[in-house]
């Protein structure tokens, strides 16, 4: 308890059980942090994760052995893929029972090994303070990630007493992540960037995790280059800025993907050239030189070879790069750059997203899901923390909700975990009780962690849930429409959906249902006016809607896109 307190922990998300009972008893006796009892351990890890993404601080979850530990696995993998600092403490059976297939025993260290940054098993009680301190250090430094501490029950036996020792500083001989970039590389990068005619800044989640959004803005005040964000990077550069092209990749904007394909210099910042970004790697950005800044050397030249790799914290690297660019004698060719920015404007006009869909009073009886996001954006003045689940609704938010600040867009990008949105929103709401927290979800995803509605009642978490209900697993169905001759195998269930309004009510919350566009705005206003209640808004949308643009795959580059049904750009 004291070790957690000394790490500044405010919330622990957890679920008790046999092997964790000693720990729970001491939680009962302390006041340093609040324990949030979730309804499923997956919820605990996602809530801790959401808390971390919104605050930048590490999230903490506590589970028991066996099923408690295995239920935490999806949340660990989610955090691992998106480099989120978590410390997950799992109870373990007593030391002498380990390896005997005892009740609720599972090898948590073994099961979690591929999806954690590091893990510890406590062998001596007196090591607990050091291990906790090291776990937080490892989780939060370098490329962040989840760390597991597995504690056998006998190691928390309250009858054993030890002196509490905390080191002033942590120094691990085997772990010294690089902070400062190599000055020679910064020089080379500056030269390459300033000689560009068609530069693109491609900024990922590393900008947000590394708290480097201000430096990114400062860099582009100098360069005036077009900027695109990855799904994880949204909010890292203000969406309202005129140089912002929107998201890139699989469902990125036409202009962002075209700009990547035609660039002569790509400045990749805290991004990892994920397969959703590059499409076919051998066809990716054929004429571009790549400057790649990342704290993780293994992310550099993993998929796309970097011409100028820079290993370092994003913030420190950008500060050095800005300094170098200011000092450089050569200046960027502003005429060429103007032509390039003009070209991007033309692409935007040709096939860019229509952000005013909500204004067109379409006579259609069905609501377009994009319109729901646009109305939500206006209802919240773009200031909400928005969590999402995974699928079409997630992409619609990424495309149509303009994130101007970092840490406002909270979604599972790397792993794509359905069920993430609601528990993540709980973590955010606890961190920011006075701010608007919205979970945009679908009727598929929300049912994966629906039990957390009960947690929201217990701890009074007035989240707003916007359920974009198309009565199907929309993204699966879209792929089936496009690639499987419209055979909707196991992707529909319209005859067996719950009545979400009653369901929300039975959990003690408010439920609202919208089926017509004319009701949408008013219903959202009503929902957001109920400041102290969780409101579940079930919005029935056009089930036939697809997400576009969409990269043509396989064997496509980023210039190959579907821009609407049956139409390639």
């Amino acid at each position: 308890m004291r070790a957690l307190k000394d790490e500044g922990v405010k919330f622990v998300f957890g679920y008790p059980g046999g092997a964790a009972l000693h720990i729970y008893d001491s939680i009962f006796k302390q006041k340093a942090f609040e324990h949030i009892l979730v309804r499923h351990e997956q919820g605990a890890t996602h809530a801790a994760d959401g808390y971390s993404r919104a605050t930048g601080k590490p999230g903490v979850a506590l589970v028991t052995s066996g099923p408690g530990a295995t239920n935490a696995i999806t949340g660990l993998a989610t955090a691992f893929m998106d480099s989120i600092p978590l410390v997950v403490i799992s109870g373990q059976v007593q030391s002498h029972l380990i390896g005997t297939d005892s009740f609720q025993e599972t090898d948590m260290i073994g099961i979690s090994r591929p999806i954690v940054k590091h893990s510890f098993i406590v062998q001596n009680t007196q090591d607990i303070p050091r291990i906790v301190q090291e776990a937080f250090h490892i989780a939060t430094t370098g490329r962040p990630g989840p760390v597991v501490i597995d504690i056998p029950k006998d190691k928390t036996d309250p009858s054993q007493l030890f002196e509490y020792k905390r080191a002033k500083e942590i120094s691990l001989r085997s772990y010294q992540p690089r902070v400062l970039p190599h000055p020679g590389q910064i020089k080379k990068a500056s030269k390459k960037i300033l000689s560009a005619e068609r530069p693109v800044i491609y900024a990922g989640g590393g900008v947000i995790l590394g708290n480097a959004h201000k430096e990114l803005i400062a860099l582009n005040k100098l360069l005036k280059a077009p900027v695109t964000n990855t799904l994880m990077g949204l909010g890292g550069y203000p969406a309202k800025d005129k140089y912002f092209m929107g998201m890139l990749g699989m469902h990125g904007t036409y202009q962002a993907n075209m700009a990547m394909h035609n660039a002569d210099v790509i400045i990749a910042i805290g991004a990892r050239f994920d397969d959703r970004i590059t499409n076919t790697p051998s066809m990716f950005a054929p004429n571009a030189k790549i400057v790649h800044i990342d704290v993780d050397p293994a992310s550099i030249s993993k998929i796309i070879n970097a011409d100028i790799p820079i290993v370092g914290q994003v913030k420190e690297s950008l500060i050095a790069l800005i300094k170098e660019i200011k000092r450089a004698k050569i200046k960027i060719d502003s005429e060429a750059l103007d032509r390039w920015n003009m070209q991007i404007s033309q692409w935007r006009e040709k096939h860019g997203l229509d952000h005013d869909l909500y204004l067109n009073k379409i006579k259609s009886s069905m609501i377009a899901p994009q319109v729901v996001v646009q109305e939500l954006y206006h209802a919240t003045q773009g200031n909400a923390f928005v969590t999402s689940d995974v699928g079409q609704h997630q992409m619609f938010v990424a495309q149509y909700y303009h994130f101007n600040k970092p840490r406002r867009w909270i979604n599972s990008g790397g792993l794509g975990t359905m069920g993430f949105g609601l528990p993540a929103a709980m973590g955010v709401k606890l961190a920011f009780p006075k701010q608007e927290v919205v979970c945009v979800t679908g009727e598929g995803s929300i049912q994966m962690c629906i039990q957390e509605l009960s947690t929201c009642l217990q701890y009074n978490l007035p989240i707003k849930i916007i359920n974009i209900n198309n009565e199907a697993l929309g993204m699966v169905r879209q792929w089936q429409d496009m690639n499987y001759g419209g055979r909707h195998s196991a992707s529909t269930y319209s005859d067996s959906l719950p009545d979400f309004v009653k369901l929300a009510q039975s959990y003690g919350h408010v439920g609202m249902k919208v089926t017509k566009q004319s009701q949408l705005k008013k219903t959202l206003e009503k929902a957001f006016a109920m400041k102290d209640r969780l409101v579940f808004v079930d919005v029935y949308v056009d089930p036939n809607e697809h997400v576009y643009p969409m990269l043509v795959a396989p064997n496509g580059s980023t210039k190959d896109m579907w821009i609407k049904k049956n139409t390639k750009a």
């Binding site: 073994g110 090994r113 591929p114 590091h118 893990s119 062998q123 085997s174 050397p297 293994a298 993993k302």
Partner: protein
């Protein structure tokens, strides 16, 4: 091409599993693996041989380096190096096998009426050749240490 990767790692429970697991997770293959405590016993040195292009091996060494317990990683095959492998063989009396092993620093450890146990060491390519020429006839059992190696010259792998 064959690569010899040397790893200096904390001698802690689970550390070896992290390295071995990583090869599997990332789709790399381990051909041979050797591990033992070194220096004051708080370190282990592992030697892994694998196959891959330069890019693949660069990625492997970077990923291994990310393991928290790993202190240093080096691809010995990048430069000049010494590399040897040790084998032990049990076989039915055979002049041929004895002769082959003698040519590889062979030593007899046991000789009874049915069989012999001998050890030998040499470069892994010499060992491969020897094993091939020994064939199956009269061979009872064989154990290989896997490659171990050191950099040539002043370069060392330590903290």
């Amino acid at each position: 091409m064959k690569r010899i990767i040397s790893i200096l790692i904390e001698n802690k429970p689970g550390a070896l599993a992290r390295v071995v697991g990583l090869f599997h997770q990332r789709g790399y293959n381990i051909e041979t693996l050797n591990v033992g405590p070194v220096f004051d016993g708080s370190f282990s040195r592992m030697t892994v041989t694998t196959r891959g292009s330069e890019n693949e091996v660069e990625q492997i060494t970077k990923q291994i380096n990310k393991i928290i317990d790993v202190i240093k990683v080096s691809d010995l095959t990048e430069g000049d190096h010494h590399e040897y492998e040790f084998i032990m063989i049990k076989f039915k009396h055979s002049e041929k096998i004895q002769k082959i092993l003698k040519g590889l620093n062979g030593k007899i450890h046991e000789k009874n009426k049915d069989a012999m146990v001998m050890s030998a060491w040499g470069s892994s390519s010499d060992i491969e050749v020897a094993i091939k020429s020994i064939g199956k006839v009269n061979l009872l059992e064989i154990a290989r240490s896997g490659s171990i190696g050191l950099h040539e010259g002043e370069k060392v792998l330590k903290i």
